[in-house]
């Protein structure tokens, strides 16, 4: 069964009644759990900056295509961590770089870590960079928005995600 890597965001579920619950977040990939399970597949995620997640999914091609066609999900152009990005088009490499900036990394930090041409890197290089940190979130109750500006938190390593979905 094929695998694919995606970047998506965390979403919110309604909190139960009562005074203790304030916020329930979940990885948007969970919206496809039933479909992935029906394929006999699975998925695993790691949270990164600004409420984004890097997710590895094992599912049918049909399901992977459905996920990739859903707003808010970006499928990465390689499926194996060891895959070289040397054959990506400029547009594909720009899309990855733009996503890293959208996630919250500066262009300077991206270039310092990955160089000027992503074509010299592997998918693992890019994903390990993307998962180098995340910040603790908080709920701004006045605006009912989740803000990611707290201290750095530990991040589940990309290799752990990779090993969870084989």
């Amino acid at each position: 069964m094929p695998v694919a890597w995606f970047i998506c965001k965390y979403k919110r579920r309604p909190v139960p009644p009562g005074g203790w619950w304030k916020l329930i977040r979940y990885c948007a990939m969970d919206d496809f759990t039933s479909q992935i399970n029906a394929d006999g597949g699975r998925w695993s995620e790691t949270e990164i900056l600004n409420g984004y997640a890097i997710v590895k999914v094992k599912a049918s091609d049909t399901t992977l295509d459905t996920i990739a066609g859903t707003s808010g999900f970006q499928r990465l152009p390689k499926n194996l961590l060891t895959a070289s990005l040397s054959d990506l088009t400029t547009a594909q490499k720009n899309a990855i770089r733009n996503k890293l900036e959208e996630i919250g990394y500066s262009l300077t930090e991206i270039k310092d870590a990955l160089g000027n041409d992503l074509g010299s890197k592997t998918l693992a290089d890019v994903l390990r960079f993307a998962a180098r940190r995340r910040l603790k979130h908080r709920l701004d109750e006045a605006t009912d928005t989740v803000i990611y500006d707290g201290p750095e938190q530990s991040v589940k390593p990309i290799d752990t995600v990779d090993e969870s979905v084989t």
């Binding site: 965390y10 005074g19 916020l23 969970d30 992935i36 998925w43 695993s44 589940k156």
Partner: protein, 198 residues
């Protein structure tokens, strides 16, 4: 390693009703010490035991009566700062679901991994094992006396150190019994002379 390894009964819920229960702290409303259900007209109740247990920890209880459809039952494992991890059953008219969460503050949770489709029956067991490091966070269900892991192991190391159990009711229907567990008991190793004689 098999689950559970520590069968110490921490709370048998046989005491005279009191709030909070002896040895417990109420976070929101309070779990009853005799009925173990959400008290009075409160929609939910959440209480934790005061005693902390060294890492790694495991806790489990018997779900005597499931929550009503649309409601939930949670078994949390909290650090001294009341953050940690949770396994939660959400009951449905169809198949119930289970999920693991990281709790980062009062009622601030992030689901770890996917939602697990699993029907529960009255009398089943619900368990949670939390190990700092690579062994991770595991949810368990006991059915007909046999424990099985639910879903996959989740890896999260944001809340480490000693932890204590906490029970949460989402309605006044659910009831639990016999909260057990503590620090995971390491399996005894086979003596070398046994190996040498084999």
């Amino acid at each position: 390693m098999a689950f559970p390894t520590n069968t110490t009964v921490l709370e048998n819920f046989n005491a005279v009703d009191a709030h909070p229960m002896t040895g417990w702290t109420d976070l929101y409303e309070g779990v009853d010490s005799n009925g173990t259900t959400g008290q009075g007209s409160a929609a939910s109740a959440i209480s934790y035991r005061n005693t902390l247990h060294s890492d790694p920890v495991e806790f489990y209880l018997t779900v005597t009566t499931k929550p009503g459809n649309g409601s939930f039952l949670g078994l949390h494992v909290f650090t001294a700062d009341t953050v940690g991890y949770t396994v939660q059953i959400v009951c449905a008219s169809g198949t119930d679901s289970v999920a693991l969460y990281r709790i980062d503050g009062p009622g601030d949770s992030t689901q770890l991994g996917s939602t697990i489709s699993q029907e529960f029956s009255n009398g089943d067991g619900l368990g949670l094992e939390v190990t700092d490091g690579t062994n991770g966070i595991k949810a368990y269900r006991r059915s007909s006396g046999t424990w099985s892991q639910l879903g996959t192991t989740q890896n999260d190391t944001n809340h480490t150190g000693s932890k204590r159990p906490c029970i949460e009711f989402g309605d006044t229907t659910a009831r639990v019994d016999d909260l057990c567990g503590g620090t995971v008991v390491a399996a005894s190793s086979t003596p070398i002379y046994h190996i040498m004689n084999q």
